[in-house]
Symmetry: C2
Subunit: 426 residues, 2 copies
């Protein structure tokens, strides 16, 4: 029986999950895949952690060189996260002729061009299904199943932490700060939640997914990014009454005018398949010119779901002779011919406080009209103390037109103010 | 640039869609996949149909031998459907050294053992993503992404015709016969709808999907099969009031006691992700021991979605050296060690007409109790003329116990009758 030696770099949540899956399923893989996969090495600073997982002391390496020179090891799993030392370790593994499986979205997003070049030069495989949306089979779907399509758009809920926070805010009406604290207690948010709540994590994944979808490098620096730290529970409540659910969406579109990539909170209709993707579940909704709509749904994070994606890659790598390079033009920067659309089109939700005086609504609507914005719906809540809450939903319009309208409204005398602007995705 | 010649056997809906995708995307594939895919031959009895698609007369073969002996052809796409002549043609193509891509669920379900053997012997690829659930990327997800998991269950809405009919019956309250007629007019149901409405099509697909999931041959003859021809609009309406949606489900489970495979109408809670899969959309909900829940959703049929799966396989076949054999024990019959569970467990919905007389409800419930069935809910509708409609939802119980209880109730004097029994899937 073919023997496959695996090394795991980093025994955090995902590394521990991967170790658990590999060891508990060893006989299952022998029986059903005809290969004997053994963990032959780990690299983990916290030796106690490795020992507590049941790893023999002799398998715990003190440095990457030991892993690279170990001829028992065929595949190196990198689940350290971040750029360094992960990048140095991955390059060392590839340069020593070992194939690499990684869950590192930041590393793959920023350095895929370099990693792929080195992998190719050394004839090694480089697999990254686990880098995007955990156990949801999205990378291979884009690379293999949907490769006959021109992908026109993908819309994803691809960060578990923010989806958990927004779901709880929507269910309980609590503020962002309150829910974040609870999420941190439960381990759904990190002590420093910046990467998740500011949309960096989603932007890294969107960069990878849209590069594969649109067959050209989409650097994450080209992605418009807006997190959820400014989300007000009032808007979630108001949106709900209008039949909307608030989600942190990652959106990629590719059309004749160029590519549009953005991560921001957005309202979607309660009937949209993405609206029922709750808690830490994730999903990616893809439109292709032949396949039409496809949605892939599942656990976007966690030890075992992400471990499932890693082990899927390990078995694929062990049983396929060819190596898996992505088919997009994998460069450091975007192709100069690629146009990125920044002044994108959307529908908009605006919540305002306006002066409770005859003629004010007409003033506001004339500002919209001046900027070519067509209003779809106006909802006025109960009057307050001189200032009245007003909600406006627009038809499809340009981002820049809305910005101008907001400036004009905020410049009105009398105290009218735009409190929130949220894009509506249909 | 690598040139790949394709032949299409059968220019029906899917064959026509595949031809359209290949020709319209030829430059796109050159640019993005570095291969030039050309349709070098077609086999179609209706020559006019071929010409009307714009196919040159010189590419229209008169028999399979011409396709097999054409050295320009590398990959043969079989989209004829049914067993013969599809089987003979596929074997001839494989025996002449050509790889095969097929959408034929009946053929693959019944003869995969024979086809794979011949493919292997000839060193050819054999791809069948399009055989199950159209453009939804489920075969490769099971074979590649989820291969690190023990799959414990899959639950699918995998037939577009029946899902369309049940959605329309639910929306409009019309009878099965009325909706079927309309579906036939619109082309959503065939003139002879037997294969769809009696659940054969779903059973073929379930046989393939559960064989891959459970790593053992699951012959379609082992699948309990019940179609939708007996579905009464009254039950759809009653279920709706209780928060259920009626779907034709294909269910596969694998546990310590054996494998359970069944296709039948079932109620699912309106909040279940599968409940919102409407019209001709399909979805497969998979549970794995590591990945937890995954749902794959999209168009389960149609010229372009199914063509998308076929073209995905063509490009994969053209760009990968290894060949794609399924990893389950691919035999004609089930492994004698495999146990199939027929007396399965489920919750049940029963609609009865019972005598409007004191003591009848207690008689009925004592029958349930006698067979060890625990009742979860009893709903009595408005009284009728001597007989009262009654709906009972049970807790999880055994299929055989329910059958016995139904017999006992129907044997009561006074005219009480069980009108419908529908399984409830939670």
């Amino acid at each position: 029986m073919k023997k496959i030696g695996v090394a795991i770099l980093g025994l955090g949540v995902v590394g521990g999950g991967t170790y658990k899956i590999l060891t508990e399923h060893r006989d299952f893989y022998k029986k059903n895949h005809g290969i004997d996969i053994a963990v032959e090495g780990v690299l983990e600073r916290n030796k106690e952690r490795a020992l507590s997982l049941g790893i023999e002391e002799s398998k715990i390496a003190s440095n990457i060189a030991e892993i690279c020179s170990n001829s028992e090891i065929d595949i190196v799993v990198e689940v350290i996260g971040g750029i360094e030392p992960a990048k140095t370790f991955v390059l060392a593994a590839l340069n020593s002729g070992k194939s690499v499986v990684t869950s590192n979205k930041e590393l793959y997003c920023k350095y895929s061009h370099e990693l792929e070049k080195v992998a190719k030069r050394n004839g090694c495989g480089l697999y990254f299904e686990a880098s995007c949306v955990g156990g949801v089979p999205v990378i291979r779907a884009l690379l293999d199943n949907l490769q006959g399509n021109k992908i026109t758009s993908l819309t994803g809920i691809i960060n578990g932490t923010t989806n958990y926070i927004l779901t709880k805010m929507s269910d309980g009406g609590d503020s962002y700060e309150e829910v974040l604290k609870e999420a941190q207690k439960l381990g759904y948010a990190e002590a420093d939640p910046t990467s998740d709540v500011e949309g960096f994590d989603a932007a890294y994944k969107l960069s990878i997914l849209s590069s594969l979808s649109f067959h050209t490098k989409v650097p994450y620096t080209e992605i418009y990014r807006e997190g959820i730290t400014g989300v007000d529970a009032t808007d979630i409540r108001c949106g709900k009454m209008l039949g909307y659910v608030l989600k942190l969406l990652a959106i990629g579109k590719c059309g004749e005018n160029g590519i549009e990539v953005r991560v921001h909170p957005a309202f979607i209709k309660a009937s949209h398949p993405l609206a029922s993707v709750s808690d830490s579940y994730n999903a990616v909704f893809i439109k292709g010119d032949s396949v039409d709509d496809v949605m892939l749904y599942g656990r976007g994070a966690g030890a075992l779901p992400t471990g499932s994606a890693i082990v899927g890659d390990i078995i694929y790598c062990a049983t396929h002779q060819g190596n898996n390079y992505s088919t997009f033009k994998n460069t450091e920067k975007a192709d100069p011919a690629t146009k990125f659309i920044r002044n994108f089109e959307s529908e908009y939700y605006l919540r305002l406080f306006v002066e409770d005086r005859a003629g004010v609504l007409s003033k506001i609507t004339s500002i919209f009209s001046k900027h070519g914005i067509s209003v779809a719906q106006v909802n006025q809540e109960e009057a307050g103390n001189g200032l009245v809450p007003l909600i406006i939903i627009t038809h499809t319009t340009l981002e820049n037109s809305v910005k101008k309208a907001v400036n004009d409204i905020n410049a009105l005398s009398g105290g009218s103010k735009v409190l929130s602007v949220i894009r509506v995705v249909s």
